[in-house]
Amino acid sequence: MDFALTEEQQAIFDMARRFGAEEIAPHARDWERDGTIPRDLWGKAADLGFGGLYVSEEAGGTGLSRLDATLVFEALSMACPSVAAFLSIHNMCAAMLDRHGSEDLKSRILLPACRMETVLSYCLTEPGAGSDAAALKTRATRTNDGYRVTGTKAFISGAGYSDAYVAMVRTGDDGPRGISSVVIEDGAKGLSFGGLEDKMGWRSQPTRQVQFDDCAVPAANLVGEEGRGFTYAMEGLDGGRLNISACSLGAAQSALDATLAYMAERRAFGKPIAAFQALQFRLADMEIALQSARLFLRQAAWMVDRKHPDATRHAAMAKALVTEAGSRVADQCLQLHGGYGYLADYGIEKIVRDLRVHQILEGTNEIMRLITARGLLAP
């Protein structure tokens, strides 16, 4: 058993870290204030291969493993978890198209997405179907040349900003087998967006409802087979959960790094606060939490890469463990900064706000426990 990163993996992490530190971190607060991420960042990211991280090389991607991708997200989220997570959703969609899309979809939609000339959004959740995603109601009715889609998607990251939406829609009966996945391009007739959601965190990326009103979708935009959309969507989520965990991990690590530096300088009662043993023990607990989270996450990623039969369960367990550890650590880092942790200038409160949603999306952590328990109790 070898737990070390390879030389390349280290190089991947270092490069992503540096890219984040130089191209993202200095602007993260401005982008949060503006509520948008400038498009030119994506061009730079794509030049480095971030647009299709685990898309096959034939389809224009970088062909990394899931484990390698978690290194990228861990490193980027040290600069800004909101920006890193946005990139994760784009990559999740890209991977779905790579695995299940037709050659036509690959050349028309996936290739420009890998170059990040276009950005992709993932549309599963509906106002009445969140955790119980298979209960989704958005209806796609067959026509001579494709589908007409009617329904509403809720909480869509990048809605109104992205260039194409990978949407899970109902083409058949109730239940997961009646769901298909289609690509709906920006500008399609009948596609519109709700107002901007006012969120606690992830404020640099827009979240809106996506509305389909008798929206015409060409047959060529069906991803894979009819009735398989839910399976594709769930497969995508295994990887998405790894990424979102990595985003919690990297951001929490950066909060801890900042806290260590702060505690060495901040003085109270005649000494640096790092000298108080009560606080040293808290630092130790945070280090233990992050190191173990990192190991568990990388193991889960390794299982997803190997298509291990327990991969889904491990990705779910990792998501629950790592996102909760990340939020706890970030909250403690805020505490150790005293009043300054509560101020935006110190960067810690943003991390606390950004990480909170990681326990909710890509499947809530209750659903992660449901998946875990189901695996345990299955005969």
């Binding site: 390349e8 190089a11 490069m15 890219f19 480095l48 971030f50 090389e57 970088t62 990228v72």
Partner: protein, 253 residues
């Protein structure tokens, strides 16, 4: 034309440097190491020359411990074509001195026959600022140090250099050794595909014996110490007091 770029593995510029307990040097055990930032700029300059068609091949060379292989992979991932690693010590705390490095580089130049050597003006660990100059003397080539701009035109190069008084422009005959300064360019990030490709590029491993060079040290480090702690500032009551302190305590006016 081939270009040779020497790259050094040094303590990462973000790491807080700690002196070893016995004062024999800086503690490098389990510390993050990276390519010397000036050498990244040298790599970038050479790679851009290759991209512009002026250069056929860029060869990166590193001299030091075996782990300098990682530094060479970084150079290859940036776009250098192949690499030569000269393993001159197995102790991460042993620094190969500029003269020994220059002699080894001369031997590599003799073997590879590049038309140009581009190196960093200094390594950020020991700040010697000597290797490029020594190499040009050993080779009998022209030297242009602290380059902020390089234009190669046939048998000569025009180099803008940063000097105390401002910018100086010099014209040197090729072949030359050019050492680069901070403002020459902004080194690129190695893209993910290029990081993957770097593994497949050739990396030759050599020893000083292969080149008949003796790398044993000629300098002795007497003592390494932390810089003195900065005292807390004071608030002066009047301009007179300030002038007095500047004159009599600081001795700066």
């Amino acid at each position: 034309m081939k270009v040779l770029v020497p790259v050094k593995r040094v303590i990462d510029y973000n790491v807080k440097v700690r002196v070893k307990g016995d004062g024999s040097g800086v503690d490098l055990a389990n510390v993050k190491m990276s390519m010397n930032p000036f050498d990244e700029i040298a790599c970038e300059a050479a790679i851009r020359m290759k991209e512009s068609g002026a250069v056929e091949e860029v060869i990166a060379v590193s001299i030091g411990v075996k782990q300098a292989q990682e530094t060479l992979r970084t150079a290859l991932a940036m776009g250098c074509d192949r690499a030569i690693l000269i393993v001159a010590t197995d102790d991460v705390h042993t620094d190969i001195e500029p003269l020994a490095v220059a002699k080894l580089l001369k031997a590599v130049v003799d073997a590879e026959e590049p038309g140009l050597v581009i190196c960093g003006k200094q390594a950020i660990d020991n700040d010697m600022n000597a290797t490029g100059q020594m190499l040009s003397a050993l080779l009998g080539w022209s030297q242009a140090t602290f380059a902020s701009k390089i234009d190669i035109d046939g048998d000569h190069a025009t180099v803008k250099r940063e000097v105390d008084g401002g910018m100086q422009s010099i014209k040197v005959k090729m072949p030359a050794v050019i050492s680069v300064d901070l403002r020459l360019n902004e080194p690129r990030y190695a893209s993910l595909p290029n990081i993957m490709k770097a593994k497949k590029k050739p990396l030759d491993e050599k020893t000083p014996e292969d080149y008949g060079v003796d790398v044993s040290p000629r300098l002795e480090v007497v003592k390494t110490a932390e810089p003195p702690e900065r005292d807390a500032g004071i608030i002066v009551k009047s301009v007179d007091e300030l002038l007095d302190k500047l004159k009599n305590e600081a001795g700066v006016i």
